[in-house]
Amino acid sequence: MTLFKHELKAGCVSLIAWTASISALISVCIFIYPQMKNQMVDISKAFSDMGSFSSAFGMDKINFGDFMGYFSIECGNVLGLGGAFFAALLGITALSKEESGHTADFLLTHPISRLTVLLQKLTAGICQFVLLDAVVLSAIIICCAAVGEKPDMGLFMLIMMSYLIMQIDIFCICFGISAFIGNKSIGIGLGVAVSLYFLNLISNLTDKAEFLKFITPFSCTDCGYILENRCVNMKYLIVGIAVSVMLASVGALWYNNKDIS
């Protein structure tokens, strides 16, 4: 577990910064809800008249006047985009930073197999998302209590869980890509996160693009579906996890035999 602890320690500042930023933004969204509550009927009507734009963000299926509806759109976008960018950055640099920083010579000449390196880095990454979401969840609960809202905890946990899975999926995809690249990786990671986000928006616009939901992990964070069915859409969830595990495994296989430059 030495490398696992080292990775957690090395990523500590970054984790605190991202967690604080996401928690702060979500807290602001929750704190302004009481002021916006009375205007929500008009806002919901305005969104329902915006056609494809509302569909793209999943706002056509959600009641904006309800706290859970408000939360899933406003807070969901902050947690979705923020979490996805953090996941992409963490995943894409997980292995490539050792090569671009020339620390792979130090790490890989110790009596530790590359497979162990991969598993401990992967576990440390996943652990960081659990920590991030746990802190964000605590912040949300405190903020809800402060503004006097009592959200449906079952739905609330489902939404949070779907975002955690989405973050881990993106982390695994970028982790897999990280095995193939040596440096200049951050741009690729952010590009992957943005592309997956926009694929989800496109897939919401038309039924013809529904197949894109199988490609992007954002599809399992469809809050409209979660609020309506009280569950995550399992077909997207399973395919998303399978694709992520497959990409991370391909990356791991490649890295196991890769020449370290």
Partner: protein, 300 residues
């Protein structure tokens, strides 16, 4: 038993040749020098031995075990120093040494402290604040703190000041005396000649010769250096037994390969003030290999 066995080892980077059919052995307890200029293939060979790059062909074994198998068991007894050591910049030296020890599942505090004192290494400094020389010292401590059975050192003294180089070699000699095997690559011949027992010379990815330092330096030719007051006879320049002739003021230096009587006869014609006849040093052997294809060694 061989600590290192390399047999017909080859590495191609795409179509470009790294090393070709490299073979040499390093016996347990040996102090082995791996000599060659930049780009000759020293680091490629060492990186294959350390499992950082794969081989295109041949065998690479440490203590009789293939380097591609049982890596975690094999490398617990090896101390490695890369030619350009780089570490996690935000860590302090002490933290990095502890990380290295923990990755080896070893308690190295006592030995690390001793080494840091001898190398005058400040463990409270951040890695990002260190010069190349100090990073080399960190690398030395990482390679030595667990008292491995085999040291694989890639150009270990580059960047170290002469005092630290001396201290470093003292440490290596101490480790070697208690049975550790040392394989070091270098292009500083004087240190190889001074400390190593055996050496291999590599050029353009191929081993030219692998032998004891004594045999590498021992040739039929002798280096003759003399100071004389008389005007040099032209016949001296034309003598077929004399090579590599150089003159500086009253001083002459040349390689002589021939009958001792002929040399005495040639020198007797001169008013010699001072004379020394020595074995050619490793530098000359090395230069010979690098200025020709090596096949002419017998004529040196």
């Amino acid at each position: 038993m061989n600590a290192v066995t390399v047999r017909n080892l080859s590495k191609y980077y795409g179509k470009s040749l790294g090393i070709k059919s490299v073979s040499f052995d390093v016996k347990e307890g040996d102090f082995f020098g791996f000599i060659g200029p930049n780009g000759a293939g020293k680091s490629t060979t060492i990186r294959i031995l350390m499992g950082l790059i794969s081989r295109s062909g041949g065998e690479a074994m440490l203590f009789g075990n293939d380097v591609s198998k049982n890596k975690s068991r094999l490398y617990s007894d090896i101390g490695y120093m890369p030619s350009e050591p780089l570490f996690y910049g935000n860590m302090r030296v002490g933290e990095l040494l502890k990380l290295s020890a923990r990755l080896r599942k070893a308690d190295c505090d006592k030995e690390a402290k001793l080494l840091c004192e001898r190398l005058k290494l400040d463990t409270s400094k951040r890695i990002s604040q260190l010069s190349l020389g100090n990073r080399k010292k960190v690398s030395i401590v990482c390679a030595m703190q667990h008292n491995p059975k085999l040291y694989i050192l890639d150009e270990p003294t580059s960047g170290l000041d002469p005092l630290m180089q001396h201290e470093f070699y003292s440490l290596l000699e101490e480790k070697n005396k208690v049975g550790a095997t040392i394989l070091l690559s270098s292009h500083v011949l004087i240190e190889v000649q001074k400390y190593c027992k055996n050496a291999a010379i590599i050029r353009n990815g191929s081993i030219l010769v692998s032998d004891s330092i004594e045999n590498l330096g021992h040739t039929e030719a002798k280096r003759v250096s003399l100071k004389c007051n008389s005007v040099f006879d032209e016949s001296l320049y034309k003598c077929r037994s004399i090579k590599d002739f150089s003159k500086s003021g009253d001083c002459l230096s040349f390689l002589y390969k021939g009958s001792p009587n002929e040399l005495i006869s040639v020198l007797s014609a001169l008013d010699v003030e001072d004379l020394s006849i020595t074995e050619p040093d490793l530098d000359e052997v090395f230069m010979h290999y690098y200025s020709s294809d090596g096949s002419e060694r017998k004529s040196l």
